[in-house]
């Protein structure tokens, strides 16, 4: 008889060591069906995994099940990753689960399809329920993880496009079993408060199919449907299409795409405003030119009846057109200038308007100069000067024998006055 028997604890230690050092018993994948499921108040989950012939106890501790994004159910077929170990107090062996996924995505997919069908019958996905996404939102709500990449991506894109945008972040955990309730709560909070939001982006970066499961949960779908503020669903990557996309008022393939879609690029808006303004200015100038052409044709008829009055009329008309142009263009210029003085920083658009007004005004002045009395020479008029080079404006200031210079469009000629004949006034 052996005088040195092992104690039970010693044996258990040996078995434990044998199990834990055996590489085929650690980090192994095991498939089975869940039974005897218990969600313990401590946060640990206990269940058995079984197949037709055998059963093994499974422990799924809180630290490991924190990221589980769906609720386990009796009879659910799953695959687990874990290590076999021994529980000495009960003399049983068990598997400590590190990660768990449904056996085939078919299981989860089936649940989603069932939910979709049920909610669809309620009319939750009806296109008529969808609210319009605002063209130019000033204040946007974000429901996402406060530490995730989605938040960074959205802020980066949104603030680049519209630096003055106002953003209210409703932080929510977007992964794991707490996520559905947290997301729904964040959406409700943004709707309850008087936050005056124009739109909400519900965002989450890419992840596995299970990671995105919260966006397929009924409580989340219902919270989106109930939101008074329009919601854009921006979950995962291009290929992901959770139910939140179907119920939201709009969906975007990624969080940064949601920011691109929702937030207009203010530089583009500035350009658009500036474009219409330039078109208006050009059209107004054309209009002014038309007036001048009409006056032109009226006055040219008078050339034959009253040549002396032409210059006076032309000058009057020039003054009139100039006044009008000054009125239309410099008032805008001045008011733009006034505004500039009242603003702390000179903005791009106003510089642009000012610049283009100045340019247009210079063009207009140049046009007026081109039509100055000198240009009239082209039409057959002649300027008469005396020997001193002074312009002679009336016959009475000339005498027989005076030397004169005639300036025409293409040169000058000299001559001597033979006679004068003032008209009786």
């Amino acid at each position: 008889m052996n005088q040195n028997p092992l104690t039970v604890t010693e044996l258990t230690k040996i078995i434990k060591k044998a199990l834990e050092t055996n590489p085929s018993l650690s980090n192994l994948w095991l498939s089975g069906e869940i039974s005897n499921l218990t969600y313990h108040s401590s946060g640990h989950i206990y269940f058995s995994l079984k197949d037709e012939n055998s059963v093994i106890q499974a422990t799924f501790f809180k630290y490991a099940n924190r990221n589980l994004s769906f609720r386990l159910e009796e009879g659910m077929a799953v695959i687990v990753l874990g290590n076999v170990s021994i529980y000495g107090k009960r003399g049983t062996y068990q598997i400590n689960v590190q990660a768990l996924q449904p056996a085939g995505l078919g299981e989860l997919q089936k649940r989603i399809e069932e939910l979709k069908k049920r909610l669809s019958e309620e009319g939750l996905f009806d296109p008529a329920r969808k609210k319009a996404i605002p063209f130019f939102p000033l204040r946007v709500g974000l429901v996402t993880s406060p530490t995730g990449a989605a938040l960074r991506d959205i802020l980066k894109v949104a603030l680049r496009r519209f630096p003055n945008l106002s953003v209210l972040i409703a932080p929510a955990t977007v992964q794991g079993s707490d996520a559905p309730a947290a997301i729904a709560h964040a959406l409700e909070t943004l709707n309850e408060g008087s936050y005056d939001l124009d739109c909400i982006i519900l965002g989450r970066g890419g992840g596995s199919f299970e990671d995105l499961m919260p966006f397929n949960e009924e409580v989340v779908i219902r919270a989106i449907a109930a939101s008074r503020v329009p919601v854009i669903s921006a979950v995962g990557h291009q290929i992901d299409h959770p139910l939140s996309d179907d119920v939201a008022d709009a969906s975007a393939p990624t969080p940064s795409a949601a920011a691109e879609i929702l937030i207009p690029d203010v530089r583009e808006l500035h350009n658009e405003v500036s474009y219409y303004l330039t078109r208006s200015e050009r059209a107004l100038l054309t209009r002014l030119e038309r007036v001048s052409d009409r006056l032109d044709s009226l006055t040219s008829r008078r050339v034959f009846t009253d040549p002396m009055q032409l210059l006076t009329m032309r000058q009057m008309w020039l003054a009139e057109v100039e006044n009008r142009m000054k009125y239309s263009l410099t008032t805008s210029l001045n008011s733009a200038r006034n505004r500039l003085q009242n603003l702390p920083d000179i903005t791009w658009l106003e510089n642009k308007i000012l610049e283009s007004s100045r340019y247009r005004y210079r063009l207009a002045l140049q046009k007026l100069e081109n039509m100055s009395p000198l240009a009239v020479l082209e039409r057959g008029y002649t300027i008469v000067r005396n020997r001193e080079g002074e312009i002679i404006r009336n016959v009475r200031s000339m005498e027989k024998g005076d030397q004169v210079t005639l300036t025409m469009q293409d040169g000058s000629a000299r001559g001597i006055i033979e006679s004068t004949k003032p008209e009786e006034v």
């Binding site: 130019f136 406060p146 991506d153 209210l168 500036s274 200015e281 805008s332 658009l349």
Partner: protein, 99 residues
Amino acid sequence: MAKEPKKSEKNLTFEEALESLENISSRLESGELGLDDSIAEFEKGMRLARFCQGKIEEAERKIEILQKGKDYDIRETAVKVNRETGEIEDDENLQGSLL
């Protein structure tokens, strides 16, 4: 100008103002308006352009995060964001920030 919705300029949305401005440029280009009307329309266009500008400037430019206070009330806390990276800079404000 019957096409123009009768809405005071102050109550316009940005989109409506932009559309109005586009209509004005088209009307001016059509050459149907008299000189005085042209000038009046042009000035209205200037006002609309300034209105659009104002809308862009008037936004508040603030980033806030909702946080639960000690007595479980929810309040907004302003946070600083790096505009290059989108990163929240004073992220000690994010500690325990879940609603």
